[in-house]
């Protein structure tokens, strides 16, 4: 099992499920994470495994950068689609579940950002920019030992040398 960093789209989709199923006492079970357009089978199995094993292993975490939360805030209405409130969103950041880490945006990402190329050659042979904002999620994953990145970004998925950590 490995840690999993969620990019912004996947984090937002995960939060929808979390707030829909979390009980009043804060209890949320692994099986409540379901496959959707953004959460593929591998991502769901990974998140479920982390939640299930946390009580006895406490060794792996679901992770998202503070930047992913900021990106959601910047387009809150369209991203949340009224499926969770600002109060819930703020409460999650204040007190995330034990198995969830809100990773800092700090100087520790500097060298990992340097490892990520600025461009990717797509399957069609075109050179496309790797956006700085997307690279932050990958750098967050690279900065942790044995960590995967769950992303919807097609450019990151095509980056040579990183495909083994992208799910």
């Amino acid at each position: 099992m490995q840690d999993i960093v969620l990019d912004t789209n996947i984090l937002s989709e995960f939060l929808v499920q979390y707030f829909l199923h979390r009980q009043r006492n804060g209890h949320f079970t692994a099986d409540q994470v379901k496959i959707t357009d953004f959460l593929n089978h591998r991502v769901v199995m990974g998140i479920r495994g982390i939640i299930k094993s946390y009580d006895y292993m406490r060794s792996h975490l679901v992770v998202a950068s503070t930047f992913a939360f900021l990106e959601i805030a910047r387009k809150f209405e369209s991203v949340s689609g009224n499926r969770y409130s600002i109060e819930q969103f703020s409460g999650f950041i204040d007190q995330p579940p034990e198995w969830f880490l809100v990773a800092p945006l700090d100087t520790s990402l500097f060298l990992d950002l340097l490892r990520i190329p600025p461009y990717v050659t797509t399957a069609g042979g075109k050179l496309k920019n790797i956006e700085w904002a997307d690279a932050i999620h990958l750098a967050t994953a690279l900065s942790r030992d044995d960590c995967l990145l769950a992303t919807t970004d097609s450019r990151l998925k095509q980056l040579t040398g990183f495909q083994n950590i992208i799910i």
């Binding site: 900021l70 805030a73 910047r74 945006l105 060298l111 340097l114």
Partner: protein, 142 residues
């Protein structure tokens, strides 16, 4: 100790020439910058817009061992506590997002800078730091 905002262009000069602005060499002066600007250095480097004297990795190491370690330049980051404190306005009536940063009017890196440098009860730098940053590249909030 006198403290002032350090802009992206100053930081870029450091990474190209390994030199700080003269006023920051004074013992009584220090600078503060946003982590977004430091991370954006990598973007400019990768796209050929920044040319360090040696490698960027070695300059970064010098930066960490020099200005950062000695406290000459403080890099304000964005961790969970800072995000929580700076991004939300917690009112009696409920919670609101800080409208300025929660807007696509600002580029994402500027949203990070606004949050990192916002003065709140747990920050130690003066309000003027945010004002200096805002005067440098701030947007009208209206």
């Amino acid at each position: 100790m006198e403290i002032r905002f350090v802009s992206y262009s100053e930081l870029k000069i450091y990474f190209e020439k390994e030199m700080l602005e003269k006023d920051l060499e004074e013992k009584s002066k220090m600078g503060i910058c946003s982590v977004a600007d430091l991370l954006f250095i990598t973007e400019d480097y990768k796209k050929g817009k920044l040319r360090p004297r040696a490698t960027l990795e070695s300059t970064f190491e010098k930066f960490q061992e020099g200005p950062e370690e000695s406290g000459k330049i403080f890099i304000a980051g964005l961790d969970r506590e800072r995000l929580s404190e700076a991004m939300f306005e917690k009112l009696v009536e409920g919670v609101e997002l800080w409208e300025t940063v929660a807007s696509s009017k600002l580029p994402p890196q500027d949203s990070i800078t606004y949050l990192a440098l916002k003065v709140t009860p747990n920050t130690w730098w003066p309000e003027e730091i945010f004002d200096e940053m805002y005067n440098e590249f701030g947007l009208d909030e209206e």
